[in-house]
């Protein structure tokens, strides 16, 4: 199903838009540089004529020395094949880029994030507010000249640790030191918080004539805040809904309660130091996060791990998928009111898999197991036996048991069938990925569409379900676990011997200048890492395309018209992890 992008059309793209679009000819970079004024035309041609119907990632880069900002887009075809990168360059002092929300609604949250963190203004965006930092925040933290409190140096390793290490506690430093910048003329005493007025305004009031229910009863619309304390058990997340009676008219997700600017930390870190930090993104699936990041850096370094390492990587990634899907099903049942029994059944299997992770990597959840060009260490004695036992005996049995336990239940069917429907076209338009996309009838899986590692050699099916409702998103996780077991059987059977690392393990890797985008099919969907290197030990730009963050773009679309009680179930069916959403 992987078809190559039509080269003729792509060739003519440059000529057609000349001088509005040109190839990015910086060494190590790819794709097109489009002029801001022609961006909308360019994107429309891509989407409508060339079939790039899926806008996967929107982000920005601050090229401080050149005085430029760049907005970077990655687009794909849902029929498969490699992606297309295009960029818009704007001056740093007035970065204004036309918004693509009209063409690709999936850009909505991502453009907000780019505005929030980099200060790129997307003109025409319907609701350009801050998203990850709080609304009173001053400055745009991912800009290269922005410095946080306790700022020490531009990049690690920090100089005062060796050879004359002066130990100190972070709170012994003055918390609000000269690193903190305030707007001119601002005083803490005179500050009045704006509150949530902008947020409530963004919900929009629907006039009574719009109401589809043409009954004579006069109902008022009210705004309800769900959260920010665990609206379900997924983490600190808040949903603001406008209700008409009990029916959802509009919904806004509010997030950032767990925001720590993972990307800024990542740009201060060396390449290797980022590996343990990626564990903390989606803390359920640290192996998959490691995988994506390792791929992105390996692409830049142009190395590949040895055969055995590839097999172990896939073994770990697929076990992670089973862990995640089991817990996702369990937590969805929590949201449905089946309080914790399904979760605990799922967690039993999870513990057994995490035992395997622990004996291999040294930690249950924060595995930090992948290295550039290989792995941290080989499988210890007993790990393969445990894996074989799990894959051939325990997990198939337990997945069937969970299936028997849940899927037939009339309560689950009653609560899930036909709820939170996301039709196929909208799933693509809203850049949904992973189980959410596939439950809406789109057969798109990065492992098949753009194979990485050894997935092109493995035999498995891409699971698809057609209805796009909560029940299908629930069921597709069972399908995917069974496919993962198929992959695992092959991996365990064919596990080759040999080395697990290409070259010598190094703590300072040399990464040539350039950009790369490594993406894997994580359990929650396409997990991408966008890196820009300038040849220094620290990455110039490090961006995470977080699947559960971008899947939230369609939450409003799924919930509209449903009842208030269905919101929590719909959220549960997306399966978010706030460590990844808030970054």
């Amino acid at each position: 199903m992987t078809e190559s992008p039509a080269p003729v059309l792509l060739e003519s793209l440059e000529a057609r838009f000349s001088p509005g679009a040109r190839r990015d000819d910086r060494p190590g970079f790819e794709g097109y540089i489009v002029e801001a004024a022609r961006l909308l035309d360019f994107a429309r041609v891509l989407r409508d004529e060339l079939g790039y119907d899926f806008l996967s990632s929107v982000t920005g880069v601050d090229y401080l020395p050149d005085g430029r900002m760049e907005s970077v887009y990655h687009a794909y075809r849902t029929t498969g094949g490699p992606g297309l990168v295009f960029k818009v360059q704007v001056p740093r002092d007035n970065p204004v880029v036309p918004s693509l929300v009209g063409l690709y609604p999936g850009a909505e949250l991502q453009e907000r994030e780019s505005w929030d963190l980099l200060g790129i203004r997307y003109e025409g965006h319907p609701d350009l507010r801050r998203i990850l930092t709080w609304d009173g925040f001053y400055g745009h933290p991912l800009r290269k000249d922005w410095q946080e409190a306790y700022f020490e140096e531009e990049g690690k390793p920090l100089k005062n640790r060796w050879p004359e290490g002066r130990v100190y506690r972070i709170e012994d430093k003055v918390p609000f030191h000269h690193n903190v910048k305030y707007p001119a003329g601002w005083t803490p005493e005179g500050w009045v918080p704006e509150g949530d007025n902008a947020l409530y305004a963004a919900l929009g009031k629907i006039s009574s004539t719009d109401q589809d229910a043409a009954d004579s009863m006069d109902t008022d619309q009210i705004v309800v805040n769900l959260g920010p304390q665990h609206p379900s058990t997924h983490g600190v997340f808040r949903m603001v809904v406008r209700l008409d009676g009990e029916t959802i008219r509009s919904l806004k997700p509010v997030m950032g309660y767990l925001h720590r600017n993972h990307e800024k930390i990542g740009e201060r870190n060396t390449y290797l130091m980022n590996m343990p930090f990626t564990d903390r993104l989606d803390y359920f699936c640290s192996m998959s996060n490691n995988f994506g990041y390792a791929l992105a850096v390996e692409k830049l370094m142009a190395i590949r791990p040895p055969e055995r390492a590839e097999y172990i990587r896939v073994l770990m990634a697929e076990l992670t998928r089973i862990v995640n899907h089991m817990s996702a099903i369990g937590f969805l049942l929590n949201d449905l009111g089946a309080f914790f029994t399904p979760v605990m059944y799922a967690f039993e299997e999870r513990e057994l898999i995490l035992d395997l992770f622990e004996m291999t990597s040294g930690s249950r959840m924060m595995c930090n197991y992948f290295r550039f060009g290989g792995l941290a260490r080989d499988l210890p004695a007993g790990a393969m036996e445990r894996a074989r036992e799990l894959v051939f005996n325990r997990l198939p049995r337990k997945i069937d048991e969970l299936d028997r336990f849940l899927t037939g239940s009339e309560i689950i069917r009653g609560r899930c069938v036909g709820v939170g429907v996301l039709p196929r076209e909208k799933a693509i338009a809203y850049s949904q990925v992973g189980p959410v996309l596939r439950a809406s009838g789109v057969s798109y899986d990065v492992r098949r569409a753009d194979p990485y590692s050894i997935y092109d050699r493995l035999d498995f099916d891409v699971c698809v379900r057609q209805n796009g409702d909560v029940y299908d998103r629930f069921m597709i996780r069972f399908d995917e676990m069974r496919q993962s077991l198929r992959i695992l059987e092959q991996v365990v059977r064919d596990m080759p011997g040999g080395e697990i690392q290409t070259g010598k393990p190094q703590y300072q890797v040399r990464v040539p200048a350039g950009e790369s985008y490594g993406r894997v099919e994580g359990p929650k969907g396409e997990l991408g890492f966008y890196l820009v290197s300038n040849g220094k030990p620290n990455p110039w730009r490090y961006h995470v395309r977080a699947p559960s963050f971008i899947n939230l773009t369609a939450l409003e679309e799924m919930c509209k018209g449903n009842k208030l009680a269905d919101v929590v179930v719909t959220l549960g069916s997306i399966d978010i992890v706030l460590g990844e959403v808030d970054r």
Partner: protein, 204 residues
């Protein structure tokens, strides 16, 4: 008929409930506080109640388990501690949260650095247990510990570990990580003999 699915599901929970009692019976009161039973309960054939009665019962940690680094010293004559650490600073450079501070020893007479640390601090509040320091130490001098019960009432005094608090004898390392220890010692011996051989070759 409506309700069949629910009943089928309830049969699964009933099975789990029954299993927990049946497994108790199988062990005849020796299901808990018994390492043999613990291994069976936590194995892939385990049935019944899965939880562990911490802190009376503890799960054995695997050899690779990592928690807070420690420094290795070899025991010399008269109980003298010979640090393996040469204060090369690689651990401090590779540490992602930068929680390692090292002061190098300078020789009082010559003013030149000596290959041993004068001070060595790890702030365990910041340490993220990633294990990179142990992985990249060229002298096998810093390793990850197995002791995870470090909670204390006062983080101000107890959570910056100094060199004394960090130092552990080589025998401790050999006890908690036998396979790693054997492999590394073999490598060290091999390197040593290669060095000797090179010396001999130069002499002749």
């Amino acid at each position: 008929m409506y309700g069949i699915g629910i009943l089928k599901g309830l049969a699964v929970t009933l099975q789990h409930l029954a299993d927990s009692y049946l497994d108790d019976l199988r062990w005849l009161g020796r299901r808990y506080y018994n390492p043999e039973a613990l291994a069976a309960r936590q194995g892939t054939e385990g049935r019944g109640v899965f939880t562990v009665q911490y802190p009376e019962e503890k799960l054995p940690v695997p050899e690779e388990f990592r928690f807070i680094p420690f420094l290795i010293y070899e025991e010399g004559e008269n109980g003298k501690q010979l640090d393996r650490c040469t204060s090369c600073g690689i651990c401090a450079k590779v540490c992602p949260p930068q929680c390692i501070w090292i002061v190098r020893t300078t020789d009082a007479e010559t003013g030149r650095p000596r290959p041993e640390p004068a001070e060595f601090y790890i702030d365990i509040d910041i340490c993220m247990n990633c294990g990179l320091c142990a992985e990249y130490c060229p002298f096998d001098a810093i390793k990850m510990d197995h002791d995870y019960e470090l909670a204390s009432y006062d983080r101000k005094t107890r959570h910056i570990h100094d060199k004394q608090r960090l130092s552990r004898p080589l025998s401790y390392y050999a006890a908690i990580r036998p396979a790693n220890f054997a492999r590394e010692e073999a490598l060290r011996a091999e390197k040593e003999s290669a060095k000797e051989a090179a010396k001999e070759a130069r002499k002749n």
